[in-house]
Symmetry: C2
């Protein structure tokens, strides 16, 4: 006890160094994905000369990169041979069906990075300092990158949310998918329930990606699109279910309430909205992965935020919904709020 | 046991996300230092409105930043009040004598960041792709940033190395300090031993910083400077001790051997070289903080590296030194190699 409490009282600069140098990890992972290092190793190239040849790099650079990836826990090393970890084999080898490397195109897009690099200005200003309202400007091409790059990551949450909102899949379901993006949430509902008809709203260029995915999933005949901003377009009426996935965090509460009123009006009696969000606890600092999402919204949007359940509940109540409940979606870091008309 | 081993066999994308988003931590710490958030809290501003006022930012931005710093472990939060941790009070409050915030000017300088952002190119090429040989080009102004920003971090290693090389401080000591930078290593030896005379080598602009520090330490009368590249200037002879701190990692072994031969010739009989380095184990992936330094050299220099003890020992032997021994320097991540003429 006493030695441990003494140790705790020694200040250490380690966290400072790790944090100020953390960007090096991002750059190493980006470089490894760009150079196809994980794919090369998955194909059986396990030594520096073999990996360097496959990836068309210098041996010296590849040796230093592979050692760095090993230090980061993304490869293992025995003698002179490198191997994939279970995680990197699953998510970083292009031959894996769960390959996530494409997400880098969105997560490290110049648009998002620019926002982070000007964080001090965003804190001063209280919102994004990136021109044209950051990522929420009209028809921003970043959402095509999102739709293409993030789709593989959304497969699992889409299946989880489908089970939550339509477990029996035994009746007709008219579904509105707000800001559908890759379309996977609506498509998952359609695959699960042959009587579901999906109406997907998004920018025209983004809906092209969603339509491709609907085609691949074999649900094109029940996949309808509404081109434009969710704030402007006519939704129609009679929906049993409205999916609002990763959308409300981009806007302030009054803006969200305006949209939610419009959604409320489009719902049939007994209809429900299912909202997928990063919902921090009331302390706003836990759980870490969820609460930290506020910063992504500060640097990338004029007024977005990660809202607590109390805040979301209030927005839905102000828009006329009768009751909201929150549901965890393990193993993801996100939650689903189900709100009844 | 069985549930834990099952858990280990589930692939998880968590490490991928943490790593690809790691740059956000760097940006948050940079922004907080630039905005003087830690200093503001240290001065007694503990709520968002008070901190925002002191730092001249929006309240919304400051709330999100302080929450993010809390998530990162650099602040604590109780209710609506934030407090410094022991580490942030010691190293990030400008009123603390151990303030390290200035190191950001070097560690996040555009020159170094540019190298990291072009890591894939550096891996392809096998060395820095930054023009003019990266950080080791002649008279690079980055070394003035280094000398000013990194000095506070070097105080402790300088004292530790002084104790190691001159524990008794009871005899005349003619000291050559190669690439002295901030000068703290030689200055520490001079403070410890009133009979020590220091001869510091570095670029002219950098030596101005070292001379300021020698003045502050009260050792100016025993502090001499030799302006220029260590590879070119005339060292003179008769040195009892040559300090080679954080220098050899910038160059390849043949280049280092050329310099070490010159140093060997400048030493008096019985003289020693004391080399401070990041010395990884032979596996090159441990310890992590030490081994990871190779990447800094790959992206920032044409041929630099973090050398193992076996490699350093060979360079010194090839340059004529009779014996080298390695010494840990806890709590730092670095080692000292003492090489005898």
């Amino acid at each position: 006890m006493s030695s441990s409490s003494t140790a705790q009282q020694q200040p250490s600069p380690v966290l400072f160094f790790q944090t100020i140098n953390a960007h090096q990890h991002t750059e190493a992972l980006k470089a490894a994905i760009e150079l196809e290092v994980f794919t090369a190793i998955g194909e059986g190239n396990t030594t520096v000369p073999a990996i360097a040849k496959r990836c068309q790099t210098s041996e010296r650079g590849m040796r230093i990169l592979c050692d760095y990836l090993t230090i980061m826990g993304m490869l293992t090393k025995q003698g002179n041979e490198y191997a994939l970890t279970l995680d990197s084999a699953t998510f970083l080898d292009q031959h894996s069906p769960a390959y996530l490397g494409g997400a880098v195109e969105f997560l490290c897009s110049p648009e998002l990075l620019q926002g982070f690099r000007r964080m001090a200005d965003a804190v001063r200003h209280g919102g994004t300092v990136i021109e044209q309202d950051g990522t929420v400007g009209p028809d921003n091409p970043i959402w095509v990158k999102f739709a293409r790059g993030m789709a593989p990551m959304m497969m699992m949450p889409a299946q989880l949310i489908t089970k939550l909102v339509d477990p029996d899949a035994d009746r007709k379901l008219k579904v509105l998918d707000i800001a559908a993006g890759h379309g996977l949430f609506g498509i998952s509902v359609a695959k699960n329930n042959p009587q579901a008809e999906i109406h997907a709203v998004d920018w025209k260029a983004v809906l092209e990606v969603a339509k491709e995915n609907a085609q691949k999933a074999g649900v094109s005949d029940r996949y309808h699109t509404i081109e434009g901003s969710a704030f402007d377009v006519d939704f129609g009426t009679g929906y049993d279910l409205v999916l609002i996935t990763n959308f409300l965090h981009h806007f302030d509460p009054p803006t969200n309430e305006t949209l939610l009123r419009k959604i409320h009006a489009a719902l049939a009696d007994g209809g429900r909205a299912a909202t997928l969000e990063f919902v921090p606890n009331d302390d706003r600092v836990s759980p870490p992965e969820t609460a930290g999402f506020s910063m992504v919204m500060l640097v990338g949007t004029p007024t977005g935020d990660a809202y607590t359940f109390a805040e979301l509940e209030r927005m839905f109540a102000n828009a006329g919904f009768s009751r909201s409940t929150i549901h965890a979606l393990p193993p993801t870091f996100q939650q689903v709020v189900i709100s009844e008309k």
